[in-house]
Amino acid sequence: MTSVRRASLVAAAAACLLAAAASAQKAPPDYPALLRTIDSQLVFDEGDLSAEVTVTAAKLGGGTSTNVAAVFRRDWVDQLLIVLLEPAADRGKGYLKKGDNLWLYDPADRSFAFTSAKEKFQNSTARNSDFARSSLERDYTVTGESAAKLGKFDCRVLDLAARSDSVSFQRKRIWISADNLPRMEEDYSVSGTLLRTVAMPTYLKVGAKFVPARTIIVDNLKSKKVGGKTVYEQTTIDIAKASVVKLPDSTYSKEYLERIGK
């Protein structure tokens, strides 16, 4: 082999090595795309999600309240209908959400009260917005990432900052499992106080999408020591009978709530 040919081979080999090294260096993660992917797993683009939810609120004083409700969700136009089935005293009460507007219906006096999606649901730790569609990409940007093991899940831990002050929790930390499903999130105030912790250990596959089979919401501001251990007020949301069907448009209307309330 001539020296020129040898030099050419060495140069070519060096070039290959450099190219390999460059490709091995990771491109910055596309966080908006990641958040979009997470949302897309949870948002029903077509059809209506129907499910029965059981909301169990455990108070620190020892009492427990249970509400059973039918939930109907049409994500692509951001509409939501919740009709309470139990307890009997609240049967027929409902929530209707259309975009940013949320009404609470009381069949006792057949009245609609304008409320907020960010208000608490039936005096529990859950908020009305917890039943609505996921909107991580719309509301947040990613400010940091780390890795952690959460139970059996290897998770990416994303730190999120709200895009505007219209979002209740200005800072979040979410644990995303390898299947791009949120398994846990911590919600923080502006000043960094942990307000609540939400765990979603299991999911139901409904059609091509997912809904948390169980959601546990812990109010980190409401706690007390019991036997040397800190106990928090928490709410559990269990979903059953989930399905995706096309419902009539009239389902998401005040008239429908009034009809059911009768």
Binding site: L60, S116, A117, K118, E119, S129, A162, D165, S166, V167, S168, F169, Q170, S189, V190, S191, T193, L195, L221, K222, S223, K224, E233
Partner: protein
Amino acid sequence: MNFKVPLRNVLLQRRRYYFLGAAIAFGFMVVTLFGGATAGLVESMKEKASRYFSGHVDVRSYRAAGLMATDMAPVEALLRASGLGLRSVARRTIVYEGTSNVYFGGGAVPQRRVVGVDFSAEGERFAAMPYAAGNASGMAAGGGILISQDCASALGATIGDDVTLLHQMAGGGAIDTATLRVRGIFKESSIFGYVAYASIGDVNALLGIEDAHATDLAVYLGDASGADAAAEGVRKALGARYRTFGPIASREDLDAQIAAGIGFDQIFAVLSVDAQMSQFSQLLGAIGIVTWAALGVFAAIVAVGISNSYRMIVNERMRELGTMRAMGMTKGGLRGMFVFEAFVVASAGAALGLAAGVGALAILGAFDLSWIPGSGLFLDDGRLRYAFDGPGALRAYAAMAAVAIFAAAGPAFRASRVPPVRALRGE
């Protein structure tokens, strides 16, 4: 006229005048009691209201979006230089909108409002607030919170405990929190109860407002009774440099002016404590009207009683009157003597009634009346604060004296017309 004769007659005839004097004394006691109690209720309510509503005169800053925190330093300087005789001016940041809760021990208590106070300027106002525990000293340094007794009781919180104050912006917006130490637990109920006071720096930080900014200026006067006039003076002084709303008679009036349109530029609202409390002032006014109507009826009864009593007195003293007429006393002199006797009896009765009324107020003020529903609005630490209404007492005295004189004048006139001979015969 010889005043010694009627004065001597009153002393000599005191047994006849006992009932009359007692009736007048009782009436004056009732007037003093009601007047003093009402004046005390108003004074107590205004003091609480001035603490709660931001001074005797509240200056608020608005812009198109609504209430707006702004740099109040130039406004403060303008008011201090205005020559209006304002006792003090202090910045406040008041959380009017959104939801605020105090968290502790696993519980949460919603607050009707959270008030950021410049304790270096308003410290003495809050030192005078009745406390179940702790006090306001140390609040100027920040990091502390004053909560009501009801709130502390619901949370199980006490002095030195660190509580979490949470605020969520109106419309379900951003949530922020602050950890503050309980420095004072004040005894306040009714609408003045579900409020928390913290330093203005802490509240500004909670709301994301610049440190030097404020939503309100709390203006205090030497005499709260001139709040309406002072508010108009402040409004005119501000109007020389800033946009202001028109005169505001009540909070409903302010709402109506806001609804009519604020415009984009900054505009100030000036409310007196009377305007803030207009609904309660109306209630007190109604109570006052009913009270004075009842007193009017009572005065009429007293007048009839006095008139009848004097008729009896005149009849019983007919011979005496005849003797005086026979000795040269004129008809006018006789009438004047009776009227002056009535005036002396009324004055003595009023003096006794005043003393009895003040005594009754002191006794009433010693009892804890907080068990009366809704009384927290008007009471001072559960007790009635009474005030001596000097002008009111003078008016009542003048009225009572006039009633007595008027009631005595009729019989005196008729007695003066009886011929001396008939009078001597006792007819």
